[in-house]
Each structure stands twice: as C-alpha cells, then as structure tokens.
Symmetry: C2
Subunit: 118 residues, 2 copies
C-alpha cells in the first residue's frame, strides 16, 4: 500500500502539531526577543533588561525560567559581590537561530514594504 496523499489528514495534523509545539515554547510577548538577544552573546539579567526595551523584571525572570525549563537557556550564578547571573543560549537554544533569522528577515522586509508603499 503506497503512501499516497502527502496532503492527507495525518500529514497535516503533524504539521499543525509541529507549529503548536514550537509556538507553545516561544509563546508570549518576550521569549523570541530574549532568544534573539542572547543569540548575540551571553548577558547578565540587568543587561537583558537594558537590551530588551519595555520588559519588566517580573516578565524577564519568568520567561527566562520557561526557556531554561525547555533547555534553551543556561543560567549560571557567579559568587561575585553582589552576585551576578549570566544567561546564555544552550546549543539547543542556538538551534532556533534559523527560525529567528527568518522572523527577523520577514519583519525587516515587511517594514520596508510598508514604508515604500506610503
């Protein structure tokens, strides 16, 4: 029995599930921006706060915990005085780079398109 119908219900469900899986992990207003920020290099909590315009301590803390839980971000505490904490992408977090790149690229061309139209 040949595997016809790539456009079958089953194949589509797999696609939809994949979209949901990814977006669940990256859901919310800030996660992608955090990943984008960290893709440029490790940063302290305060550095992220300064780098990501508009985010508050509560949201940043919460989103970082989510990302850490999903293995995308690694958190390292240093016994400086006062303590500092460094956040960086794991190698798994870096696997999001192509995705982030596409999102950035599309957003940039979209803005260009809107500007040229006006």
């Amino acid at each position: 029995m040949l595997k016809k119908l790539e456009n079958s219900k089953e194949a589509c469900d797999i696609h939809h599930r994949a979209i949901r899986d990814t977006m669940d992990i990256l859901s919310g207003k800030w996660k992608l921006q955090i990943v984008g920020s960290l893709s440029l290099g490790k940063k302290h909590f305060g550095g992220l706060m300064a780098h990501i315009d508009g985010i508050g301590a509560k949201m940043l803390s919460k989103e970082l915990q989510d990302l850490e839980l999903n293995g995308l971000v690694k958190r390292t505490v240093y016994n400086t005085k006062p303590i500092t904490v460094e956040y960086e992408l794991t190698s798994y977090g870096n696997s999001l780079q192509p995705l982030v790149d596409e999102i950035v690229a599309w957003g940039m061309q979209h803005r260009r398109k809107l500007r040229d139209k006006d």
Copy 2:
C-alpha cells in the same frame, strides 16, 4: 566614520523591532496554523474549520480578517447557493513559507528529541 559595532544598540533595536513586527502580524493561537493550512491550497471556510482542529467559527473569522487586512490572505465570495467563500494565500502570504517551514521543522525535531529522551 566607519560603521563599526554591528552589535550596536541601533542594530539590535532593528532586530527586536523586526521580531515584534512579524509576531504582531502572526500573533494569537491560530494565525500560523491558518497560514500553514492555506499554504497547501485554497480552502472554504468550512474546510478550514475542519482542517484546523479545535478552532471555532468566531476565531477563524476574526483571524482571517486580520490576515486579509495585512494582505496575506485573499477572500473570494462565490454566488453559489448557498454562497461559498474561498480563502487563499496572496503572493505576499506565500512569502511566509520559509518562516513557516522553519517553525514546522523545529517543532518536528523537538518532538522527536523529546520522544527519544524518554
């Protein structure tokens, strides 16, 4: 004056803004799934309802309007009896294909990774 510092505040802001621009347009639980669905071919309203598991008429209608407003989806009404409506991606909507592909690919490998771990 050379353009040093690609990692400058300005360059980063452009990235962050691009991410926000894209995600604003694709925000919500359903838009990406709708785009993914339509990327496989034009569909009727009912077809989309059946194809996208769990979505209700209200959300589907609202999200389609949003997508249409942003020029990603084209809506065509046919004077059949009763009327039918066809939705399809515009060429601009199709420009999201690489982005959707990345999201699908990441979601699939993520699910594979979780399965192999257990």
